[in-house]
């Protein structure tokens, strides 16, 4: 088990009232899973992903990462978990324009001192080759195509060798050709590298590539299909 959500409630104050986004939501993600969460806009998909990625704190309920409860963890400990165990890919690539592709991928390794720069470099090289963007390593983000940028963002998510990658509409800003390429790449990472994926998406195609599919509505998840 990589991540487990237990009875998650999440609400936000809005116009003097509490708006409930997630309601008694529970989900278990096992190692090697690839999960797609779909749902209408505003249904709480990103909130769910943020809670899973420890970017947001549930109003109540527990998030367990590798069996460890996270509610009582301090900010630095949460950051450490995010850095080591979770990778993020967003709809927009969020590559830093002032850094080269290589440097963008390298950035997560700067968050904590312990990492061996040489091994990180070797790993980046390998990831870039895997994602077929090794030759672009010295390019700045504005010189890359949309698909290349998103692959760079995935490389950045992979660099710390996380057990889980959370993807928020990873193909939302791509054309269908690039969206398909990214989908295939993610599927390959899951199947060949054993990387656990949780993606929220509007894309039926990307969802179809995942082995589990959930639908989020009125704060609750319902499984809509899968390979099992």
């Amino acid at each position: 088990m990589v991540i487990e959500l237990k009875n998650i409630y999440k609400s936000y104050p809005s116009g003097g009232e509490e708006v409930r986004v997630l309601s008694d939501l529970s989900l278990t993600v096992k190692r090697g899973d690839s999960i797609a969460v779909t749902g209408p806009s505003g249904s709480g998909k990103t909130t769910l992903l943020n809670c899973m990625g420890l970017l947001d704190t549930p109003t109540s309920g527990n998030v367990l990462i590798d069996g460890e409860e996270t509610a009582s963890l301090k900010e630095k400990e949460l950051a450490h978990i995010r850095n080591r165990k979770i990778g993020f890919v967003f709809q927009l690539h969020y590559l830093l324009p002032q850094c080269t592709l290589w440097e963008n991928v390298l950035i997560p390794s700067l968050a904590f001192k312990k990492d061996n720069q040489k091994s990180i470099a070797e790993r980046i090289k390998k990831i870039l080759s895997l994602l077929d963007i090794a030759e672009l390593s010295q390019a700045k983000p504005y010189a890359l195509s949309g698909g290349e940028r998103q692959r760079a963002a995935i490389a950045r998510a992979l660099v710390m060798n996380p057990s889980l990658i959370l993807l928020d509409e990873p193909t939302g800003s791509l054309d269908s050709e690039n969206a398909e390429k990214i989908g295939v790449l993610l599927k390959r990472l899951n199947e060949e590298e054993g990387i656990t994926l949780v993606t929220v998406t509007h894309s039926p195609y990307l969802a179809s590539l995942m082995n589990k599919r959930f639908y989020l509505r009125q704060g609750a998840l319902s499984e809509t299909g899968g390979d099992k």
Binding site: T46, N50, G53, L55, D56, E75, K76, A79, H80, I81, R82, N83, R84, I86, F88, F90, Q91, L92, Y94, L96, P97, Q98, C99, T100, W102, E103, L106, I107, P108, L110, A111, F112, Q117, K118, A121, I124, K125, S137, Q138, K140, P141, Y142, A143, R156, M160
Partner: protein, 1090 residues
């Protein structure tokens, strides 16, 4: 929708941005307008004050030699329609307060009559003033602690035509009387009356003209006349008809038993101007020079203390020439001399520096005559004071040292019988050669009664002698005030200059704000382009928005400028009343200043907008539209993409090192006083050089690929730096703004003037003298009974040309000195030696006239600020007889004790102002241990002369206080600039933080803790902040080199250190607080909002 509608909608929609831009423009406008208004206010205040001090009279008649009948004003009022006139008697005095013995120097006493009320705004009750009562002005009251009813002793010197230190001149007789303060006058009662162009309030005391003139020994006389005339009437013509012989200092009497009319001078001697006029009136007039000799000796026999004469008549009668002498029978008998014998005449004569010394000349006896047969009688004796009116020759007081023991019984009998009948005659040319002095060379003119009636002769003389020749000078007050005020120290310009950094900081801020505004609306420009708008229309839209914003800012800035001017006036007024003893300044709201300031500010704002917008509109629509997503323009659309920036700045850095180093080396070759400005310039050059170095390193770092085992390396530190260097222009602006502010503030400190480290060094501002003394009443050398060595200066008072006077010195004070005294001591340091080299004795050049131009030296502060000249320039001054004379500045002194004066040689001084008696300025040698003792001795010694005795360093501190106050203003403005600079720096950090929100969110998602993100941000901003400080420190150090090499050992290290630490701590604290505060926000929302 019209363009204007769109503009208004944009203005409303982006109101926060436009508000900031309007505020930036308003700031620039306020600074410029405020400075311009200050200049206008100061000028107008000075003009009003000067007009108020002169009672708004059109002209002032000043007499330097003679005095006139005070009824002159009544005559003018009676005869001249619509004229206003008031006669005054002005003289210097010393005030001694009874109770605590307080002595107040520099008092000006005015004798007034009721006519003064023609020039007052509020009646001055002169008629109620008793002979022993005085009015005082508020400054005297404040300085001496006087109130109505208090009694004081006033000491003044009697006014006499006699000049004390020419042969036979009489010492100035001191007189004193007790007076009771009747009341303290208001300004509207002309309490601050003065004809000098100084904004300083004089120390004025008023008493009835009648009693003052009686006390001064010239009853019923006056020496000043205030005059206002209707229309364009000139005063010169008005005066002439009212003057009489006495007013011109001329006496006429009968001679030679009434057959001749003899014309004599009040001053004993006639100068060449008079001689020319009198000989023009009658070329046959007999010129006479009679003189008092000490001894006439022949082979051991001596005839003491007698008169020798010379005249045209005797020259003709005896064909006298060269060293021939004619003796009276009495004298020949006394000396047992016969024709052909040699006799020696010893006599007193004046040397070049005005000192009287005994000298002798040898003659050969040509004839021995019976005096009475040749009409040689007592009338040939001039009106030597202390001689001609004395019955017994043992009571002689001829104004020169005489040994009464030499007077024999037969000499007394001769005096009793023949009085001053000459005992010898020599040729007129020889007499002039031997006896002439600065006042002239003839003692009388005789006119034949066959040709002249006395009345006709007097009329001819009065009509032919211009009042100027007799020492009367008209001062055109309106012209003088305009000249003094219009050319006064331009405080507005000075403040504008001092505000340069503040304006530059505002301009940089405006550029940054405009760039920010344009950047945030990139997609809008892209959209407009995409929908077919031409670049020109987009530019028009941007500029129209900018213009309206700038105009709004300009209006706010205009009003703020008025308030800023009030603030500066408040500061200056405190400085005026505290240091310069001047009235408070009043505000002048000059529309021209406001329009100019507002216009300049708006232009500055639009210039910043043009600079920021010119490239934006040229970027293709696709790039503009994708800017929000990419957050950065492709390299091809960033400025200067076509060349290697690192190389360019590297070359610029190397090139700028050359002039910077050259200026620095040149600065080392400069003298102490001139060095500061060159070191400052070198510092400025190095500031620019270091900015190029920074830009080179910045671009080099950006370009450089740091390799490690074949892989690019990135550390938290370089990552942080990369973040802040994302916008090189902004980063450079941040660094520049900090570096420049640090440089300006610390280098200003090096200009602060303090007491010299070794005030007894001849090279310092004191010239090595310990004590400075200036008296109100002249002192003759004989009166200075002290063992202390001193250098005396003759003074022709005028406008103060020191930094204590804001106005242009139109009629500057001139001092004359025996230059050898200063040359031998090697006193004072020359700031500019003009055409002379280091080995030349510049002081000795004071006597070397070329083309009739008199060499002069002045303190460099006086020369540049108060006289508006430089070494090599000439100025015109008017001598005692109204003749315009040119002075050429051959060198300037480093700021010191003699600031405020034009220095010329004593010889030249006496030729210009022969009637000046004695000395008024003294530089006294005193060792450190005896300084106070000497000061106290002199204060006591010269108390009756109204002496102000100061330790030399005290006088320097008075000047330094003024210059340091200006520097303090500079520091205040520099400080405001630093605040603005730091403010701009912080705004840029905040802007950077806002722009980086998404990056922070991403870093959070990637596992960076807040502490780690803080480190990244801190590294980048610290790099910029410390780069700014380092770039500012190096030029600061260079500009401080004069301090470090000992030119100004009293540099305010503490102050500058405090400033530096304040800047450092403020910067570090603010960066830390901004980061801490900002990173508390929840960035994840940013990602969600995307």
């Amino acid at each position: 929708m019209t363009l204007l509608t769109r503009v208004f909608r944009n203005l409303v929609h982006y109101w926060k941005q436009h508000l900031l831009l309007a505020a930036g423009t308003a700031l620039a406008v306020a600074i410029i307008t405020g400075a311009l208004l200050l200049g206008a206010s100061v000028r107008s205040s000075l003009k009003e004050q000067a007009a108020a001090k002169t009672g708004k009279a059109d002209y002032a008649l000043l007499s330097t030699v003679n005095s006139f009948n005070s009824e002159l004003s009544d005559k003018i009022l009676y005869n001249e329609k619509d004229a206003k006139a008031a006669a005054l008697l002005g003289t210097g005095a010393g005030l001694i307060k009874n109770k605590n013995g307080l002595s107040l120097p520099g008092i000006k006493v005015w004798g007034i009559d009721n006519n003064i009320n023609l020039f007052t705004q509020k009646t001055l009750p002169v008629e109620n003033l008793k002979d022993d009562e005085i009015f005082i002005n508020q400054r005297v009251a404040a300085k001496a602690g006087l109130k109505p009813g208090d009694e004081i002793l006033l000491k003044f010197g009697k006014i006499s035509s006699s000049v004390s230190d020419v042969p036979f001149g009489q010492e100035t007789e001191l007189t004193g009387s007790f007076y009771r303060v009747k009341s303290i006058l208001e300004t509207a009662q002309l309490s601050d009356l003065s004809f000098n162009m100084n904004q300083t309030i004089p120390l004025n005391i008023f008493l009835p003209l009648k009693s003052l003139s009686a006390n001064l020994g010239i009853p019923g006389k006056a020496n000043h006349l205030m005059l206002s005339l209707p229309g364009n009437s000139r005063p010169e013509k008005i005066l002439q008809p009212y003057l009489n012989m006495a007013d011109l200092g001329i006496i006429s009497r009968n001679a030679d038993s009434g057959s001749l009319i003899e014309i004599l001078s009040d001053q004993l001697f006639f100068n060449k101007s008079f001689e020319k006029i009198l000989m023009k009136i009658d070329p046959e007039a007999d010129r006479i020079l009679s003189y008092f000799f000490n001894t006439l000796s022949s082979e051991g026999r001596i005839t003491p203390y007698s008169i020798v004469t010379a005249s045209d008549r005797f020259d003709r009668q005896f064909s006298l020439s060269g060293n021939e002498i004619i003796l009276s029978e009495w004298t020949a008998a006394d000396l047992e001399a016969v024709k052909g014998d040699r006799v020696t005449m010893a006599f007193y004569r004046e040397n070049q520096t005005g000192n009287v010394t005994e000298t002798a000349s040898e003659f050969i006896v040509k004839e021995i005559i019976n005096a009475s047969l040749y009409h040689l009688d007592n009338s040939y004796m001039p009106l030597f004071p202390g001689l001609h009116e004395v019955k017994n020759c043992r009571d002689w007081k001829p104004g020169v040292d005489i040994n009464l023991d030499l007077i024999r019984k037969k000499d007394e009998e001769y005096w009793n019988s023949y009085k001053g009948t000459p005992k010898a005659v020599i040729s007129l040319s020889k007499a002039e050669e031997l006896f002439s002095n600065r006042l002239g060379s003839l003692t009388a003119f005789r006119f034949s009664k066959d040709k002249w009636k006395q009345k006709d002769l007097e009329s001819a003389i009065i009509n032919n002698i211009s009042p100027g020749t007799a020492g009367y000078q008209w001062l055109d007050l309106n012209k003088t005030i305009t000249g003094a005020v219009d050319n006064s120290i331009d405080l507005g310009g000075l403040f504008l200059g001092l505000s340069f950094f503040l304006i530059a900081a505002a301009a940089i801020l405006l550029i940054l704000l405009y760039r920010h505004s344009l950047t945030t609306r990139m997609d809008e420009w892209g959209l407009l382009k995409a929908t077919g708008y031409p670049n020109s229309t987009i530019k028009k839209l941007i500029l129209t928005e900018g213009l309206l914003t700038a105009m709004a800012g300009g209006i706010i800035g205009g009003f703020s400028g008025i308030l800023y001017n009030r603030f500066l006036l408040f500061l200056l007024s405190s400085f005026f009343t505290g240091t310069l003893y001047a009235p408070a300044l009043t505000e002048t709201v000059s529309p021209i200043a406001i329009i100019t300031g507002t216009g300049c500010g708006i232009l500055l704002s639009l210039g910043a907008l043009l600079l920021s917008s010119s490239k934006t509109v040229k970027i293709p629509a696709s790039i503009l539209l994708s800017f929000k997503g990419n957050r950065e323009l492709p390299e091809s659309y960033t400025p200067a993409k076509r060349f290697n920036k690192a190389r360019l700045f590297g070359i610029l850095f190397l090139l700028s090192i050359i002039p910077s180093s050259a200026v620095l080396v040149y600065a080392f070759t400069q003298t102490q006083s001139g060095a500061s400005i060159w070191f400052f310039l070198a510092g400025t050059f190095f500031l620019v050089t270091l900015v190029f170095l920074f830009l080179f390193l910045l671009n080099f770092l950006l370009k450089k690929k740091l390799k490690n085992d074949g892989f690019p390396k990135l550390s938290l530190f370089t990552f942080g730096i990369k973040n802040v260097l994302r916008n090189p222009g902004r980063s450079t602006a941040m660094v520049l703004i900090l570096a420049a502010s640090l440089f300006m503030v610390t280098s200003t400190g090096s200009y602060r003037i303090n007491t010299p480290a070794d005030p007894f060094s001849r090279d310092s501002g004191t010239g090595g003298f310990g004590v400075y003394c200036e008296t109100t009443i002249p002192v003759s050398e004989k009166e200075i009974v002290t063992d202390t060595e001193f250098v005396p200066f003759r003074l022709k008072p005028g406008d103060d040309a020191s930094c204590l006077n804001l106005q242009r010195a139109v009629n500057p004070s001139v001092i004359g000195v025996d230059w050898k005294e200063l040359s031998e001591r090697k006193a004072f340091h020359f700031a500019d030696r003009g055409t002379f080299n280091r080995k030349d004795d510049v002081w000795s050049k004071l006597d070397e006239q070329t083309d009739g131009t008199i060499p002069a030296i002045a303190d460099e502060t006086s020369l540049s600020w108060n006289l508006g000249n430089k070494v090599g320039d000439t100025i015109e001054i008017t001598d005692e007889k109204g003749k315009v004379v040119k002075l050429r500045f051959i060198a300037s002194l480093s700021p010191g004790l003699l600031q405020g004066f034009i220095i010329i040689s004593e010889k030249n001084f006496l030729s210009l102002y022969p009637s000046t008696s004695g000395y008024r300025v003294f530089l006294i040698e005193a060792e450190k241990k005896s300084l106070i003792k000497v000061k106290n001795e002199l204060t006591e010694l010269f108390a009756d002369h109204g002496a102000e005795v100061l330790c030399a360093t005290e006088r320097l501190q008075q000047f330094n206080a003024v210059e340091n106050t200006y520097l303090s203003f500079f520091l205040i403005l520099g400080g405001l600039g630093v605040i603005l600079g730091l403010g701009g720096f912080f705004i840029l950090i905040i802007r950077q933080m806002v722009e980086s929100e998404r990056e922070f969110a991403l870093l959070t998602a990637l596992g960076f803790s807040r502490a780690k993100i803080s480190q990244v941000v801190l590294f980048g901003n610290l790099f910029l902040f410390l780069s700014g400080l380092m770039i500012g420190t190096v030029p600061s150090f260079i500009s401080m080199l004069p301090v470090l090499i000992g030119y100004n050992p009293d540099y305010p290290y503490l102050f500058s250190g405090f400033l530096f630490i304040c800047l450092l701590l403020t910067g570090l604290t603010a960066i830390y607080v901004i980061i801490k505060f900002f990173l508390k926000r929840n960035f994840i929302l940013t990602l969600k909002n995307e």
